[in-house]
Symmetry: C2
Subunit: 205 residues, 2 copies
DNA sequence: ATCCAGGCTAAGCGCTCGCTTACAATCCTC
DNA sequence: GAGGATTGTAAGCGAGCGCTTAGCCTGGAT
């Protein structure tokens, strides 16, 4: 049985109208950017009047925050799961890159908002997502450092390597489209290989 | 003798006031984005009245285009030069990544506008910079393919590898700041290494 | 049968936006 | 030193923005 996209993305948001507004927000924010999107665009694409947005969200920025926080939480959860599932730095890192990258491809609309519209968040809300971002970076850095300690990886600087690894996945949100030839899963796998090579992985996990 | 930043960035733009407006535009567009920036912001930061912008540029979008085209032309020139200077696919690719990456770090304000504000360009202007972008991608793809032909590189797909290589440099514009620990040159060098490893370069050029 | 909370709309308020107009100052050419 | 081109300003226009208000409709508890 098929579940609606909105229910899959935000299962804990009620009612469905609020989810439709979030989906319309994602599409507009991803395509044109937060500041170029009007509340009338969003409500219109959700099939409602402009005022309906304010029944479910106190402001346009609050809608952005709901989208951004949920997206960041998904990304963090996915990275944490990959790190915990693995039994070595190499497999952990491959899993992280595979899942992180394929998520950015499969959910490139949400990911675009997550990665490129966070500057539009108010200060307090920005700090919340910045915290989630730091945790993601920290996990990747820790794995690279443990790989350096075991001799599984060979790089000059773990910090720079972590940045590069994450850049690979993040930038996918910028260019991936539904018309891409490569599936999200295939892209993730290929990027996983590239990332391990970048790290000079001894054993190709 | 020191040359003003505006004269270094846009030596062929006259008069200096127009360059000051471009610099103020770069700073605002990079920090807050095109749509969040007002013509009053730009003119104010350039120390002029709002109407002064329209003496030198027909519209806010035209100012963005002037910045974006010039930035794209710089990036393309730098990639072309690196490709022509080298005598093997490996040295060519290392040079490209080094210079492309360090440019995105050193000029991260301009680069941010170049990479992330092109969606705000009107259709005709967008097509111009899209053409420049295609030429950059093509050069990188060609080098990777020639490296595959000679056996210098080993990757599954040149297209995907080119995307990944460029992503590395492009994403630098997103996170680099003047407070970064690593200098643009050092970052470029480190990314050059990482890129060659990604490509499975036989000889580390 | 009644009531009311939740969900939604029509209308519009106050404000800021990109841009234009009318005009002033300065500089180069002859 | 007259005249035109260039470079700037003060003031403000029309439009569209985020958001509010007042009120209607509907479903479920009493």
């Amino acid at each position: 049985m098929t579940v609606s996209l909105t229910a899959e993305l935000w299962p804990d948001v009620q009612p469905e109208t609020a989810r439709r507004l979030m989906l319309a927000g994602v599409e507009s924010f991803a395509r044109r950017g937060y500041h170029a999107t009007t509340t009338r665009d969003i409500a219109g694409n959700a099939g409602m009047s402009p005022a309906a947005l304010y029944v479910h969200f106190p402001s346009k920025a609050a809608l952005l925050f709901a989208i951004s926080r949920s997206g960041h939480e998904q990304a963090l959860a996915l990275v944490e799961a990959a790190a915990n599932d693995a039994d070595s730095p190499a497999t952990a890192l491959r899993q992280i890159v595979e899942r992180f990258t394929s998520w950015h491809a499969r959910r490139h609309m949400v990911a675009r908002v997550v990665q490129y519209e966070l500057g539009a968040l108010p200060d307090r809300e920005y700090e919340v997502v910045a915290g989630l971002r730091r945790r993601i970076e920290q996990i990747v850095r820790d794995i690279i450092e443990s790989g350096l300690a075991t001799g599984d990886f060979q790089v000059a600087d773990a910090h720079t390597a972590a940045r590069a690894i994450l850049s690979l996945g993040i930038d996918v949100a910028r260019w991936y489209s539904d018309r891409a030839k490569k599936s999200p899963a295939a892209l993730g796998q290929e990027y996983g290989e590239l990332a391990l090579r970048m790290l000079g992985a001894r054993t190709i996990a």
